[in-house]
């Protein structure tokens, strides 16, 4: 346990409001981006962003400081996304934990994609954000965690609560799917 994570664990156990303020500021970009690309829905991503921090407040005592705070935070957010997808029947997220299902992935409609597009910079002409939405969510999330959030394989496994072998397999398939989607988008 490093001094930083130990201090963080103590602060969370004590529900230190200043610490929480700092963490919200520090992680706002990464957490919101993760939620936005996972849900494809800006309004839902905002709700889940707030809910995630409420959970951090309420369950802060469960963070023991032995793992990275990032992994713990993303695991909370992911569980909330799964809960929301069950509650609100968001079809694109229903298979978040089940990539082996035989149901073909149906990408979100054009309207949802265009709403999302408004939130990302127009400078990124490669439309990676739209390509991301074209690939199944269980691949999308491992790609984001690995290459955007730069979490290690073990940390991703902790977030997803799955074996490392599953994480690797999803990364390989997700990478291939992203390349295909980007090639089709560029054509």
């Amino acid at each position: 346990m490093t001094d930083d994570t130990h201090a963080l664990a103590i602060g969370l156990r004590q529900r230190d409001p200043d610490l929480l303020d700092r963490l919200i500021e520090q992680y706002q970009q990464r957490l919101y981006r993760y939620l936005l690309f996972l849900t494809g829905n800006p309004s839902l991503a905002e709700d889940l962003f707030q809910e995630t921090w409420i959970r951090v407040l309420e369950r802060g005592s469960q963070y023991n400081g032995k793992s990275k705070f990032d992994s713990w935070l993303f695991a909370i957010a992911r569980n909330l996304v799964i809960d929301a997808s069950r509650r609100k029947k968001i079809s694109s997220l229903e298979e978040l934990g089940d990539p082996e299902s035989n149901t073909p992935y149906d990408p979100p409609d054009e309207r949802a994609s265009s709403v999302l597009q408004l939130l990302v910079s127009r400078e990124n002409e490669q439309s990676v954000q739209l390509s991301l939405l074209k690939i199944p969510p269980y691949y999308r999330e491992v790609l984001l965690l690995r290459f955007s959030e730069e979490l290690g394989l073990e940390e991703i496994a902790a977030v997803l609560a799955t074996p490392i072998s599953t994480v690797k397999s999803r990364l390989y398939r997700g990478l291939a799917a992203l390349k295909t989607a980007m090639t089709e988008g560029a054509a």
């Binding site: 529900r15 409001p17 929480l20 303020d21 919200i24 500021e25 706002q28 970009q29 919101y32 981006r33 936005l36 690309f37 800006p42 905002e46 962003f49 707030q50 921090w53 409420i54 951090v56 407040l57 309420e58 939130l119 990302v120 910079s121 400078e123 990124n124 490669q126 990676v128 954000q129 390509s131 991301l132 790609l143 984001l144 690995r146 290459f147 955007s148 394989l153 690797k168 990364l171 390989y172 990478l175 291939a176 992203l178 390349k179 980007m182 090639t183």
Partner: protein, 158 residues
């Protein structure tokens, strides 16, 4: 060039970004990419995809952090009152339990005296004795559940 070599290069390329390569494989891949245009293009496409993924900028809604901070502070204030309330509830429950344990012989004698003087059936006396033990914790549980319901209702409204 042998198809197996391209297949190996494709596999190593993916491995290099997902979990890293052994030095020998890394050297082989570098040499292969230097002399194979199609694999080099594939490597370029992979690097482009990863670069785009790493650099995609997302605009966080204005005030989202501030709104979240406010909401978290409100929730913290609301729930910080609860531990004090819980403490007293647990203290009263513990005191009630201790009193129940130590007063049990007296209570039993009291019930026996009632039975002897009023001719109550033994079953009624035993039932009364059981109630003496169970009613206080049931009341405490009801209060706790009521408090939790109120908290949940408050959080849903906010």
């Amino acid at each position: 060039m042998n198809d197996n070599l391209h297949e190996r290069a494709r596999r190593l390329l993916a491995e290099s970004v997902v979990e890293g390569l052994r030095p020998a494989d890394e050297t082989w891949l570098r040499e292969h990419l230097a002399e194979c245009n199609s694999c080099a293009q594939n490597a370029g496409a992979t690097q482009n995809a990863l670069h785009a993924l790493r650099t995609v900028p997302v605009s966080v809604p204005r005030d989202l952090a501030a709104r979240t901070q406010l909401r978290v502070r409100l929730r913290a204030q609301q729930t910080s009152a609860a531990p004090g309330g819980s403490f007293w509830l647990w203290a009263v429950t513990a005191a009630s339990w201790l009193l129940g344990v130590f007063s049990a012989p007296l209570v039993w004698r009291g019930f026996a005296w009632l039975g002897a003087n009023f001719g109550l059936p033994k079953l009624a006396l035993e039932f009364g004795f059981v109630l003496w033990w169970t009613v206080p914790p049931l009341l405490a549980a009801a209060i706790i559940l009521h408090q939790k319901a109120l908290t949940a209702e408050w959080s849903n409204k906010n």
